[in-house]
Amino acid sequence: MTDAAVADRIQFAFTVMFHYLFPITTMGLAPLIVLFQTLYLVRRRDRHARAARFWAKIFGINFAAGVVTGVPMEFQFGTNWASFSGFSGGVIGQTLAMEGVFAFFLEAGFLGVFLAGVNRVSPFVHWLSAVLLAGGALLSGFFITATDAWMQHPVGYRIVHGRAELTSLWALLTNPFAWWQYLHVIDGALVAASCLLASIGAFHLLRGRHLEFGRLSVAVGVGLGAAFSVLQVFPTGDMNARNVGHYQPVKEAAYEGLFRSQSDAPIAILGMPSTEQRRLLDPVEVPGALSFLEYGDAHKKVAGLDSFPQPLWPPVQVTYYAYHIMVGLGTIFIAVLLVGVLLLWRRRLFTARWYLWAVMLMLPFPYIANEAGWVVTEVGRQPWLVWGVMPTARGVSPTVEAGETIFTLLGYAGIYAALAIGFLFLVGRQVALGPRPMPAPRRREAL
């Protein structure tokens, strides 16, 4: 691994992790906005329209940040990973271009209608623009996940003259790895967006302002969040893990911290992997659980890291800790949100201040869990850029020096720091203001 390759990897990790903070919100929030819009269209309650407008503003701020940080991601394949681009463009260029042509056009086109069109288009067209916007956001997530899934489990291609050539577009889009990964990604975004609703609603209830909006947000956020957080473990998380176990067993061994191949393989709840001693230090384990989850039989043998040559191991510590952070947080979300559902059922949710505080402060953690999930996926894919086909070190641009990448990385860091400050400022202010009363209907006019 040359210095340049390390710099390229750090830059990609930094820019993509920063970028992904925004799609989490937009992909998760879009369906919830559609829900409020639909309620308004059907029942004509002002509170639903107000909620939809408030969340649309938050969506808009996030969408802008997501677009401007996303465009550099696409072009980074060409700038920093030229060899990889030349090798795989004919295959993953399909899904990346589809994202632009099918999803992004839809999203960007109808965001303008949705944000600027209230009072200018009919309620039905306004609702339709919200639906198309959400459709675009969810499609966008699919094409990006399908692109990543091909790098995890390449299908529908053959290698001709040292380049990947597409043999089946259908296989690429129905990649068995892609679908559970996609549902897991989208559901993760929905958990985060539900927690965002609950958190901001709780903030307003604790302050004693915008009570109607606060109650609606907390109830919807807690209720849907509980459902989504359960779905995140079963079936989506479970099926995703089975896919990894099936297609990338060494990654599974790394994130479970399983150094030894064994029957009755345990799941480590806690522990510190040591690559020197090739074992988990101070483990707290559930015996047989891993074998059971993987094969439905607690006595089946699961491959550990010792089944694979060490040069093919991913970085064990990073993969292991990221996975345990993700799973641990996911478990906490289920517990906290189910307590909320219980309180809601008992009609005590809106007055249980201790609980509202807890939900409000929980806000950053779903984002951390989403990011940790991608760290497991991508770091766990190492040392491969395309699993079993192209090593990461071979994918970089031959002419880009480490120094150039460090320079642009610092540039990105500066620009993104400014972006983050502006973002927190704008969103914080929007949240503090709360939803605004509906304006009086005005005559239709163009923009």
């Binding site: 401007v68 030349g86 004919g90 271009a97 042509v101 992004f104 056009f105 086109g109 031959p398």
Partner: protein, 344 residues
Amino acid sequence: MDVLPTVWFAVLCFMLAGYAVLDGFDLGVGILHPFVARDDGERRQTLSAIGPVWDGNEVWLVAFGGLLFLSFPRVYGSGFSGFYLPLTMVLWLFVGRGLSLEWRNHLNDPMWRAPADAVFWFSSTLLVLLFGAAIGNVVRGVPLDPDGYYQGLFAWILNPYALLVGVLALGVLATHGALWLALKTDGAVEERARVLAGRLLPALLVLVAATTAATLSGRRQMLDNYRASPWLVAVPLLIPAAVAAMWHFHRTRRDLEAFVSSAGVIAALVASTAIGLYPQLLPSDPHPERGLTVANSASAHGSLVAGITWASVGLAIVVIHTTFVYFLFRGRVPLESEPVTPPR
């Protein structure tokens, strides 16, 4: 001879022309907005004329990137990584431009809006200049190594010919933006945009003539295809015809026709350049044999077939819903219009 790479070359030119025509007018508005809008109300009116559509316009570039990645991965990799620093800076300008435009109206405070307007103007202007310079360098040919990677100095990119094309791009898109504002606004902004368009037109004629002369004297290869099929000369002849139409419609205050003529100028410029370049995507100079061509950098046949199949459906859908969005926002933006996101 496989015809598909040539088809893809045409698709990419279509995407680039679409980008230049659509994002072109909001980049042009970015260049002009300090000169046509004098106070915050007028600024808001100016930005509202592009606010709902600019994002969709920029997607043409994103889609162009994806389609280039699919069809000519070598150009995507070698071309982009060769121009590493300038391209990265272009991406930074996109970040600044998108944020300043989208976030400006979220806060009603001069300390927020003044820097937003400044960033919007600066990034729009520099982006257009750099895009023009990039096209200029492609036309001129760049020093490539045997693997098709750029080997030259960062500073070389801003050579006199490239800068001339950059200034041409500024002129073309500023006019385009002025005509859009004349079409979409009313009151003082509309009148100022009209006057500006009238002043820019003669400059535009001079720039087109100067760039054409420089290209023909410095890069004779651009004429090869026209020599081989003389009927193609009709395409560059559309440029003066469209400029004349633009002039006529501008004088008679037929804003829509004037704007469409301006779009015609841009499309004809892109098409003439593309015909001159074909089959090169990134010519090499010296060592013309190292250039990246339609033949030596296209994806494999299967990838191109699959891509053209879904892309033709996809782009048809895009044209339909883009038309629908523009139809929803038809008419003029009045001065006291509510901004996209109302300030407190």
